[in-house]
């Protein structure tokens, strides 16, 4: 008689949105593994149609409470792309600054309250806080520094409103930036301590080589600059995303699954960025990474928490450098007139590459929208990790297996709410 073990996590905790996991082991052999997304579809691509091209940053920012800046920047760069306007100089640097805020805020939340509890044996950040007060307080202060940058540059912390096509609605004052610099000076030590702390966690040793994909730029650690590159040789302009990658509907999931057309699964996110762009990271972050024993191209997905900490330190240093070099531009924004055509924009959200494509007409009305969030690009890789982790831990009892499987999903900091924006309506008429 065959023996079947089923590991089921009906509702994944400490991820954004509604997802579940089901894995089967039959007679000691791996069966099906399914990372299911049952969060209802949110139809954002559909509701962007017939809206003004200038509304895209504010509409898409509502997709996510933790990475609205990524949505805004991907949207505005796509619109500026189709309209033939380049936003550079200080306005570009201010966009990088607000992006630093989002990295600090999002990474600190994930490291301290969502992921570290897995490594330390707690079932929540709240339970962990009771035993590790000083550490969690440090995480909260760090997160609040990120929130503060988003508030000052974005107008408010949640769903910021100050980013627009062509630049910003309002420029920060010198005094506001100085206030941020004071906070960032303090946060620098906290970010460094974070790298040291996470590198000492008990990190499971599992390797699974994967093709890493990220934006890559010769001049800087890319937030929204450069070309899309991969560790397997992809090197394309952002506008070629659909030529090289494809999104597919999978029955069990309300999110599309993306893959490289020729090869299949790939991964985006901090580990991918570090693999491709580590030479451009701020020197103190590079040193912290080396001291932590981190090697670019790490194939152990459980080390993503260390990369996230290194990126947090990078973002703090980068933000300080931007403020230090800042000279106010002539105006808060450039005029952007609509031009009929197709525009492409991409940025490196905290969870990975976020690609937007819009078709607009000559009045500036959006005809078509395509939004490809990082979590849908990572789904195949998440399932492959789960399979690998299962294979390496088959001898463990179910509760321990479930623990490490959930932990391995959180390696990706998945944002399920972001992944369920698509509209695919099928009507069968007989």
């Amino acid at each position: 008689m065959s023996e079947t073990r089923t590991i089921e996590v009906g509702y994944l905790a400490r991820v954004e949105g509604e997802g579940s996991l089901r894995a089967e082991v039959i007679d000691g052999q791996l069966g099906d593994v399914e990372f299911n997304i049952f969060e209802p579809p949110r139809f954002f691509e559909g509701l962007l149609r017939d809206r003004r091209f200038t509304e895209a940053p504010d509409i898409t920012a509502r997709i996510c409470g933790i990475c609205p800046i990524a949505y805004q920047i991907s949207a505005v760069t796509a619109m500026e792309n189709v309209c033939g306007v380049a936003v550079d100089g200080p306005l570009h640097e201010l966009r990088r600054l607000i992006y630093c805020g989002e990295y600090i805020e999002s990474h600190a939340l994930h490291i301290y309250l969502l992921h570290a509890p897995d490594f330390l044996g707690y079932d929540s950040g709240i339970a962990m806080a009771a035993d590790h007060r000083a550490i969690v307080e440090r995480g909260l202060r760090l997160k609040q520094t990120g929130n503060e940058i988003v508030r000052v540059l974005g107008g408010r912390e949640i769903h910021p409103v100050n980013v627009r096509v062509g630049g910003f609605w309002r420029l920060p004052t010198r005094a506001e930036l100085q206030g941020l610099a004071t906070e960032l000076d303090r946060a620098r030590d906290e970010a460094l301590e974070t790298v040291k702390w996470v590198s000492r966690l008990n990190i499971p040793q599992i390797t699974r080589p994967v093709e890493f994909v990220a934006l890559s730029d010769p001049d800087r650690y890319s937030f929204f600059e450069g070309r899309i590159r991969s560790t397997e040789g992809i090197d394309i302009d952002v506008s070629e995303w659909n030529d090289v990658f494809v999104e597919e509907h999978v029955q069990r999931s309300n999110a599309l699954h993306a893959r490289v057309r020729e090869r299949g699964m790939f991964a985006v996110g901090p580990t991918a960025r570090f693999a491709l762009n580590h030479e451009k990271i701020q020197p103190s972050a590079a040193k912290a990474a080396a001291d932590a024993g981190l090697k670019p191209g790490v194939a152990n997905p459980f080390e993503s928490i260390v990369v996230r900490a290194v990126e947090t330190l990078h973002a703090v240093e980068e933000a300080l450098a931007i403020i230090d070099a800042y000279e106010a531009p002539q105006a808060a924004n450039l005029a952007v007139e609509p031009v009929a055509g197709v525009g492409h924009g991409a940025s490196e959200a905290p969870r990975g590459l976020l690609y937007h494509r819009y078709e607009i007409d000559d009045t500036g009305t959006i005809m078509e929208a395509q939004l490809v969030p990082p979590t849908s690009q990572n789904q195949l890789s998440i399932e492959a990790d789960v399979r690998e982790v299962l294979r390496a831990n088959l001898d463990k009892p179910d509760d321990e297996l479930q623990w490490i499987l959930e932990q391995s999903i959180r390696n990706y900091d998945p944002c399920i709410s972001c992944a369920t924006h698509f509209l695919r309506l099928e009507v069968n008429r007989v």
Binding site: C64, G65, L109, M128, R133, E137, N147, I158
Partner: protein, 151 residues
């Protein structure tokens, strides 16, 4: 009435009935003793811990979703007990008011006395409160004032 009482209206006025916390706080500010500090928080709930720092007694006013008839008012003393889990209905990225309260409890950073006044909402879209929630403001203000007077 002791000093160090703070009323915090939590919510986003551009998200329908979620704006009832700030609306109640505005009414309280009009009538309450000026020594009582009344503020509004539209920020990430994890920052509530900073907002109640230095206050001995805090009254949080927030909207509730999907847990009671719209307009119903519930008063919870969270000083020693966690909030009911169904209070945690509307938040960004899974970090709502109950999580902030419990995190503060773990960190030893709760005020000495924390009461949450919840108002059940019905519509969480667009600007402005639904009529039933609008009608509940006066009772919610009364509930807040009772807590403040006994603080």
């Amino acid at each position: 009435m002791s000093s160090g009482v703070r009323v915090i209206g939590v919510g986003n006025p551009t998200r329908g009935d979620d704006g009832v916390g700030p609306a109640v706080a505005a009414e309280v500010a009009r009538t309450v003793d000026p020594e009582v500090d009344v503020i509004v928080s539209t920020a990430d709930p994890s920052r509530l811990i900073e907002r109640w720092e230095s206050a001995e007694s805090v009254v949080l006013v927030d909207a509730m979703a999907d847990c009671a008839a719209p307009g119903r008012i519930a008063v919870f003393d969270a000083t020693d007990e966690p909030l009911p889990s169904d209070f945690d209905a509307i938040s960004s990225h899974g970090f709502g008011v109950p999580a902030a309260v419990e995190l503060a409890r773990s960190l030893g950073r709760l005020p000495k006395h924390l009461v949450v006044v919840g108002i059940a909402g019905s519509e969480f879209e667009g600007i402005g409160l639904s009529p039933v929630v609008e009608d509940a403001i006066a009772d919610a203000v009364q509930a807040v004032m009772e807590v403040v007077e006994h603080a």
